[in-house]
Symmetry: C2
Subunit: 462 residues, 2 copies
């Protein structure tokens, strides 16, 4: 019994052996465990949606969101950079529509909402005949038949995967209609379910094309309008009074965890801070914001930072202009060749279903060995599907590889861009699983000994 003090003394005298470098697998386990136990992703999405709420770029809500995001990142001990972006400022006004003339159909209000970027009908509204069209090409072929009319697109979304083709009509239909001399455009809401809830979104007018009034109608009202048109001509009264105000100053919110070995090499993990104005933006993109902040929390508290720099970006203006993504690419132009991967979480709060990739030849072989620790979460293998995101699309010309956690989006378009995009739609466990997968994937890319082969830049658009 008397040897014990001596042993203690010997031990105390001997210098502690250097701690072995953390095993990446153990770090991944710690990240996953953190995301699935700290409750922080949920707390943050609840705070952002319930307290800040709607945050369309240019609005006061967006400014509040910037201050909020800055405070969240600062609370993790990170230095926060606000990178300036000039933001469009479009404000919704009154919005009403009604069938006013049809031999068989009575007047019943249509549930509508103006599309971002569209112009006003003036306070008196406008009344015009409706012409249903199926494609942008058909609009161009209408000739004089489009003159003074309200062109109506009725794209049916059966499943989330139909968004790609339908969104072309919402995004470009008003511009095509304006070119053809139409008075206004209405489009069926891009929605996979509806309780009379219209879904907004941007409509883009080509350079030199005069904006016209444009709105989404609920799927129910699109079907009624379609039925009315089967019985004969229909005139619609449309009142939309949005305003386009002067651009305002805004910011991308940026913070980083500096890499321990290759600090100049950047893995960028992003979401967009702005939302549409109709709701809290829980799925689009409160979920992404909360997951980026969870990555900030977990990665900034690692005992040892990852090999490369992880840069966290909360973009401005994804919804109505991409000014944030454009500003970032410009401000960091000299730097983009050192962006070794970019990830953007902008598909809601659904649970992981795999990983998608856009990189040069051999990319999958480089990425696949990093994924086994994500298998239990649902993100253990590379699956078909688009990689990238609207904001980080501005990095494509620099050949930055894109990697995504593909999330379950089967119900995403039930609420997307509508008044129903609210916190209650988010399932805390699914959100936590995705936060874990995105964080672990970001870490894996930043820690990996190799980087992904760079992507082929897309052909330049003339």
């Amino acid at each position: 019994v008397i040897v014990a003090p001596v042993v203690l003394l010997l031990c105390a005298a001997r210098p502690a052996p250097p701690a072995p470098p953390p095993d990446p697998a153990k770090t991944t386990a710690a990240l996953v465990g953190g995301a699935l136990s700290d409750g922080l992703t949920w707390a943050r999405i609840a705070d952002l949606t319930d307290r800040i709420g709607p945050r369309l770029s240019g609005s006061e809500g967006f400014s509040r969101a910037v201050a909020w995001a800055q405070a969240q990142l600062a609370s993790e001990g990170l230095a926060v950079k606000l990178e300036p972006v000039k933001l469009p400022h479009w404000e919704r006004g009154e919005e009403r529509a009604e069938i006013v003339e049809n031999a068989r159909y009575g007047a019943q209000p249509l549930a509508i909402t103006a599309l971002g970027g569209a112009s006003s009908t003036g306070p008196g509204g406008l009344t015009a005949e409706v012409v249903e069209v199926e494609s942008l090409e058909q609009v161009a072929a209408l000739g004089d038949a489009a003159h003074g009319k309200i062109l109506f697109f009725n794209p049916v979304m059966h499943v989330a995967q139909d968004y790609g083709t339908a969104t072309r009509l919402r995004s470009h239909g008003a511009s095509a209609a304006s070119k053809a001399g139409a008075a206004a455009m209405v489009v069926r809401s891009l929605a996979t379910a509806s309780f009379r809830s219209p879904h907004t979104g941007l409509t883009h007018f080509d350079d030199g094309v005069a904006p016209i009034p444009a709105a989404a109608v609920s799927t129910e009202d699109a079907e009624r309008l379609h039925r009315a048109l089967q019985t004969g001509p229909v005139k619609l009264h449309l009142l939309l009074t949005p305003r386009t105000l002067p651009d305002v100053d805004g910011f991308n919110v940026v913070a980083e965890i500096r890499g321990r070995e290759k600090p100049a090499e950047v893995v960028l993990f992003a979401a967009h801070l702005d939302s549409w104005d109709l709701a809290q933006g829980a799925e689009d993109d409160g979920a992404g914001v909360a997951m980026v902040l969870e990555a900030a929390h977990l990665l900034s508290h690692l005992p040892r930072p990852p090999r490369r720099t992880v840069r966290l970006v909360l973009y401005a203006n994804e919804e109505n202009g991409l000014a944030g993504g454009t500003a970032y690419a410009l401000a960091h132009a000299a730097d983009l060749s050192k962006h070794v991967a970019a990830l953007e979480a902008d598909s809601g709060s659904g649970r992981p279903q795999g990983v998608t990739l856009l990189a040069g030849p051999g990319g999958a072989a480089t990425l696949a060995p990093l994924l086994p620790p994500l298998a239990v979460l649902g993100a253990g293998s590379i699956v078909a599907g688009e990689a990238g995101g609207a904001d980080i699309s501005t990095l494509a010309p620099a050949g930055v590889p894109f990697v995504n956690v593909k999330q379950d989006g089967s119900r995403y378009f039930d609420v997307h861009h509508s008044a129903a995009d609210t916190l209650d739609k988010v399932k805390p466990l699914d959100l936590a699983l995705s936060a874990a997968a995105w964080t672990a994937l970001t870490y894996a890319l930043a820690e990996s000994e190799t980087t992904l082969p760079r992507a082929e830049p897309p052909p330049a658009v003339k």
Copy 2:
């Protein structure tokens, strides 16, 4: 070969034997076949919802619906009676709400809609603290704590079956709140699903109790309000400007197929013609109206009328007052002992799941033998559940037996009383199956050799 003309001559000379009386089973087959092939139930619900649309009692829409129903029944060759009813006339005005004071929560609009019968806040609205309460009993126990407050009921409907208990709060909560001195009442929408869609309904003020403003909030906003209340006191600004106008003259629409043997004995099959004002009233109760009209069509074209009279009634004012049901019971008071059964279709367009019954002892044994031909449709057996309907409840004191086709109502409360109660929610095949079942059941009761034992009248309400 020369005998043929002689045979023909003999045959022609012999008087035709009397046609055998139609077999009830064959008649049922013809009714079911008609409902499932003539497309008329669908055509009529489409016409009523798309052309006439919303038809709250007292509104112009309701008057148009009366004229429409009269024309439909007349087109079947039936004499139509318009039985007078004095109708309440309540009109929705502006409706907005917003959290204006809470230490943590920002201002975000709540999606709300006034409850029928509630009063106005005046054009300036009212601002008051919210107190969440769980029961009518709790309201009474609040004492001074209710004074000047907005009382908030938050009943969660997980499934359609929860309507019974939740509706008590919507129907009587405002009256209880008014008695307790509250300034207003808000109730979570009675809904099994929501995309930010508030669901209206009647709120009833007891005699001598002053109406106060009352509204339903969407389930999403009820949850947000509940979350806000967890963080501290909440003040709500509420603007509701409905108007209660003088009563107007209206009608129940009545027609009948006179019984061939016992014309004084009546089987009554009903639905309600009025709807709430927020939508077309496809499920509530366009479906019932279309099914009653289908019964009118099929039963009026039988080669031989059923043994007893089938009376078809499209009631006024089921939604906000029951004046139609009350007027019918008064006008036919002398006659009710001869009402041998009453059926009311007022649970949407879902397919049959059985038959429910409220009759005297031995009723099930009398009814069960009539049901086997309805088995393929889903209505071959008596199942547990309420029988009756709001309008025909006024026949209960006379002991009239109630029989219902129980329909699948699992998704009924997704749209019930909301702007989403539109034609697209109705599945044509399900509607036709139910129309067939209700028509065949009505026929079976009118043709049966025996009648159901009369029900025990409910105890008189003091």
